[in-house]
Chain length 138, copies 2
DNA sequence: CATCAAACGATAATTATTTTCCTTAAATAA
DNA sequence: TTATTTAAGGAAAATAATTATCGTTTGATG
């Protein structure tokens, strides 16, 4: 996703296109999943005078507008990502890496509905363990 | 789980059996999943002079000792529960109810491993939607 | 009951997040 | 291009959440 596309998305949501916002979204495009502190550090690289409040305000705003999404990971800080098609997450307990994985969960989802009587609209799964690198002791 | 059993569990982990701790665990037994504020309010009912710090300290301690477990729910505060066999959660976006559901996830778990090369040790799923009550407009 | 360490409550300190308010800059139209 | 409008930025204050400190109390043990 390039700058033009990001700008377009911001405008679609009636958000002004500012360099700080572009940088936030670009950082997320580059790294996938970042927490507040990492995001602040990234933006600071390009805009040393950026305020932490600006990062907070923009993340909150863009998350509200469904441009970004918060992912809650067991035993660690929430990370944010650019919203995309529904998917699930892998989390390495050793190096902290977070990766996407697309899996069809309709099966267990249907079972959950049958067992509980709930109407399930959304399923979020986090698989925790060891990534390939950390598995092989490297 | 009765008071004696809870006391036993506390002692097993070298934790002194205090009325505040008993009340915390009893509250979780009664309500299943509670966040910090609800837990503090519950303990206050029996011990009006309890300190919020005591609740925080005990939750942290008992979670470390694996007596309790934190559950992170999308778009809402973390809740705590007494640790039990692995299971998943249902969350009603309307009334906030949180329920357990036992589902075999070994299938999608294996698929996640194959797709990613990760070694998956733990799978946490939160199904969000509407509980039976909220479904039927009540 | 006496002893001792752990836990408690009160409160201070720290960390995280949100709000305020004035200045700056993006969007839009002249 | 420039002027106007308004949202967004930065700095700092305010608030919320969590953790640490410390003197006192209490549970465990003998
Ligand atoms: Mn993702
Ligand atoms: Mn549960
Ligand atoms: Zn790893
Ligand atoms: Zn409900």
């Amino acid at each position: 996703m390039n700058t033009q596309t990001i700008a377009l998305h911001l405008r679609e949501h009636n958000l002004k296109v500012t360099p700080q916002r572009l940088k936030i979204v670009e950082s997320l495009n580059t790294y996938g999943h970042l927490n507040i502190d990492m995001l602040y550090a990234e933006v600071q690289k390009s805009y040393p005078s950026v305020s932490l409040a600006t990062v907070y305000k923009n993340i909150a705003l863009m998350t509200e507008k469904q441009l970004l999404e918060e992912v809650k990971i067991p035993e660690s800080k929430s990370v944010f990502e650019v919203k995309k098609a529904p998917h699930h997450h892998l989390h390495c307990r050793r190096c902290g890496k977070i990766e996407d994985v697309v899996i069809d969960c309709s099966g267990i989802c249907r079972i959950a509905e049958e067992k509980s009587g709930y109407l399930v609209e959304r399923t979020e799964t986090v698989f925790s363990g060891l990534c390939p690198d950390c598995r092989s002791g490297s």
